[in-house]
Symmetry: D2
């Protein structure tokens, strides 16, 4: 077989299945035959017009599978080996990468190549660029369904928690418990936060938040979450807050809910907001309250991927609890439509090939 099927954006607002040639590896590439993938909300943004991609571009950036073909410069991998790649596939050689900002490879957000710059990986086969640095073997102790969460959800959510620079026993508030917010909750637990306020109104997500380590659930339909959290902390607020929703209101809430010296960590995508994000001056100490704001994009590289796999392997958390639906790749359009509509309590739809 020399062709394969891929989920593509046919035009703004529309998706379809396209037949494409199975890719050939360039010297630094590995070609992977996909076995598992997750649908990401980012792709629904892309289809809605957020990224200027040409018609026919393959979607997807959370996938794993088996090594199919190996580029001439690549060593250390074997055909048939179970492997995964992060959503972000940096070159690891430019000045941004050398400075540690691999997600900003070559410039702002430049590490995000799948879909934005080249075909994504919601397809039967996909290309891994700079495979020596980006392709990660999946250890036997980690199931494929669990491992695929490391491609974006866990790496992004954990980054959100890492950017809070927590001390052991710090308090934290996490705004929204979708898949990335839930992973931020896991991250905050893994990094030694004590009191973890999860802001969420959907019962199933509240329950998962508790399972993943949240100590307090804040339902924003029952009152201003900032007020609720301040009341629960003697009026003081928290040491850190994570914005995992992508709205100006939650961004502003993060600045308001942190105490002096607090850290605000943004992982929400604010591309749908036409206005600048507002920094409220009173809660910011007129620019002098020793608060800091941190941002980032999913960190990649096979070193991080293997560390995430090692953590999954300890059994301290089970990311597959976030899989609310499973589809065969034959039904990927249905899964994608579900994600667009955010129906039926969907968190993450798993696609099995």
């Amino acid at each position: 077989m020399s062709t394969m099927r891929a989920l593509v954006m046919t035009e703004v607002g529309k998706t379809g299945i396209a037949e494409k040639p199975i890719p050939e590896p360039g010297p630094d590439d590995v070609i992977v035959r996909t076995t598992h993938a997750l649908i990401c909300t980012s792709d629904t943004h892309t289809v809605a017009g957020a990224l200027p991609v040409p018609p026919g571009r393959t979607l997807g950036h959370e996938a794993l599978g088996l090594v199919h073909a190996i580029g001439s410069n690549v060593t250390g991998f074997a055909e048939g080996q179970r492997v995964a790649v992060n959503a972000i596939t940096p070159c690891f050689r430019c000045r941004y990468c050398q400075a540690g900002f691999t997600s900003q490879c070559g410039g702002p957000l430049g590490g995000y190549k799948y879909t934005g710059q080249v075909d994504g990986n919601m397809a039967e086969y996909f290309t891994v660029p700079y495979a020596m640095a980006n392709l990660a073997p999946v250890p036997d102790s980690v199931s494929s369904e669990a491992a695929v969460y490391a491609c974006d959800m866990l790496s992004t959510g954990f980054m959100g928690a890492e950017h809070c620079y927590l001390r052991l026993g710090d308090s934290i508030a996490i705004f929204a418990q979708g898949a990335v917010g839930l992973c931020a909750t896991i991250g905050a637990t893994l990094l030694g936060a004590a009191r973890i306020f999860a802001v969420e109104s959907i019962p199933k997500r509240q329950e998962l938040a508790r399972t993943f380590g949240a100590t307090d659930i804040i339902d924003f339909t029952e009152g201003d979450p900032v007020e609720q959290i301040k009341e629960a902390t003697g009026g003081e607020g928290v040491d850190a807050a994570i914005e995992a929703f992508g709205f100006p209101q939650t961004w502003e809430a993060c600045i308001r809910v942190t105490k002096a010296g607090g850290r605000v960590s943004n992982i929400g995508y604010h591309g749908e907001n036409p206005n600048p994000l507002p920094v409220p001056l009173d809660a910011f100490g007129m620019g002098m309250a020793d608060k800091s704001i941190h941002t980032g994009l999913c960190p990649g590289g096979n070193d991080r991927m293997q560390r995430l796999f090692a953590l999954i392997g300890t059994g301290r958390f089970d990311p597959t609890l976030m899989t609310t639906h499973t589809f065969a790749f034959d039904d990927v359009l249905e899964g994608f439509r579900l994600m667009q509509a955010k129906e039926d309590g969907v968190i993450k739809p798993l696609i099995v090939f």
Copy 2:
């Protein structure tokens, strides 16, 4: 003599000289007889109504002098010893202080006690609270006129540079070269920045900026400073930017002028701006460009003061170059008026007692 003269705010918009009792030391206090002080722009904000202070409150927070009286719990100082105290006088015991946020002692901006909470030190005598932690001996190698710059200007400006988390050879832009901006320029030089863009239009300040280490002067009257700096850096922008002006436009410029992964450090006071500070989304990578924003208030404590004195003592920079005017304390009202009017090229007026 049991009374002394002090510069006070008599009502919003007005200042005067008041006769007050010479303060008596509480157990943890030291009383200092003032010999040198600097007038700070912050005090002109206070007089304009920025801080809710009662009529008759003594102004001032940049002063040094000789030990006059020592509280019963205080050891390690001798009458007549030359000493200085930072503008910020934290308790060094509350949870904020223990967490390293001494400027936020007890809560937001709580370390700023002079003028805001108690009498300031533009007076013939003043009180140093928690003197064991706050009062710093001035070494013989440092003149009083130089040392008094450590009380606020150098500590604040250096904090601005410290919050840029510079790597050796990084590039930086500093918006505005008033006294605090000039001190940020010194700080960036001391911390190993290579290319230092100083944004300033006043020739005297441009010249001082060059003396203190700026490699490029950007005159914003000759075009958008962000565009000028981007052009000078091949379109890329800088690794870090310092806001030392306190305006939304310069704040926004800092976010725009930094490259992905860049750090923005705010030291400007934004209390006169009625609206939230705007974070432009494109320059912020929609919240994902690995940029961070840092804020703070002048760090105090005699450990830092003594490290600043040690640096002045090396002779690598001369803060007294910022003294544009000198007044006897008899003429402090005239000096204050000059600072309010920002006339005659004033940078810092020195008051000698």
Copy 3:
């Protein structure tokens, strides 16, 4: 009652119960009526002659109880309130404290005042110096038996893990699983280590190590632990290692077992070793392998204590599992003798007043 009983060192090698006056609070002190205390191996070192203390000095530095009397300068506490104090009671005002090295208050190890500089707290009443910074309220959610582990064991063990500067998913080896080593294991778990090698031969301790998060138990009686760990990691070694035993062999093993770039964190007390600690050159890359070695002494202060209490309150770990024996204070000499002899599988003997 104006006198109390205290466990004292009567001379080198000997202990006894002494009758002493109940202490009166100085201005910055609080007097606590003890309810719970733990016996520490350090005190057996002291009695063996490690510290030059005068005859009759009260032992003990892990205790909590109820507020009995409050010094004139102290606010924020009420008589009868349940409170704890760290083993280390810094002044929080000297230059070492301001620099963040509170355990080195005033100079090397100077924060360790109980027993070394003043009476310890294995007594019916004890003094808390600098109480505003050192005395911590115990929240209702934390039992006294659990809270008393924060006084030294958890704070020291967690510091051991903090000094490993772990990234999420890093691997770590912890040499010895006595009480402090076990707490280091809890700390490594809380900070997101994935693979945790606990080096220990005693079955009860091995079991506790697993409960606290160790993924691999290394029994050094079955072969060189460095070889065992290297074999288990594909020859590479671990990202970090903690020395929690206090012997040159385990110190050296930590340097040998870490990979290039690895961190060695020492929490063992090496005072009984007459020779310099050896750094093996091959494993140290001739001084160029990007390895670092970190040391410290139990960090104190009520901010940290309250963060530790917050963590205990989440229920993620139960420090009371380390309580192998419980004695009434009447039988404290028997408990102390047990700790000296390390008999009967003792880990920590709890003293109840």
Copy 4:
């Protein structure tokens, strides 16, 4: 011309000039025609037998020149362009590189490829591996003689200072002022140290140390340098110390001369010492004085190289002051012999092609 001349080690203890083919570039390589190089003491160690290199291996790892030939995968460079490469040439893709330990590429010291793993660059032409990450353009503002100091001396010396984690105004002692020690002195100055003690007995080096920012010269022939520095600091010692000599005595002195909380940074090569390095226990607080020890090997990569060039371009220091001798490549054997003998006040011999 298809052959070139190279300085080689013919056997242990002997050097010679060999005729070799001009190298052809592999896909990721660039071939450079050498114009300037420096002789390094490391190479005299290599010739003395420190590294197990085969006979005929080209020596050298501090060189720059003009782009001669460009590999097929390499973009961004042009023939004839003036370029330099660091002594360390990592792959920037393995897990060590991704973790930021590029000098430990693939394992301990693995980034050090020239001479140790492949031919060095004291030759008329040389190969730059992974050129996209390792090859750095030299800006017009920096002379070739100055730029070549960035290849090893400045990068290593600055790393020594970076590993001291200095706060502004900290004190530091630097043991030995050979070329790397002098560069550490420059680095400490650039990073904001105040008092800089340079330990050195040779007048020419003392003078250079002062020029580069040392405030105090300590002549160890006039008494124990630790005692001298302690006396000059009121008995306390310094915040940080750099070992730039490679002897157990200076290593131990660094541990002794630092105060509690101090940092020791090793840049000396200890390969000639048969015994483990000794850590004196009293000065180490029995393992509890909050001291840390840091090590490393010259960091490479073209991002760092360009930052170093940017710093040289500011004119704040002139590395060419360390060039004590200049030889044409025809006379390189004489230059090498001079370096072996450490005669005639040699610091660095420059080789011009």
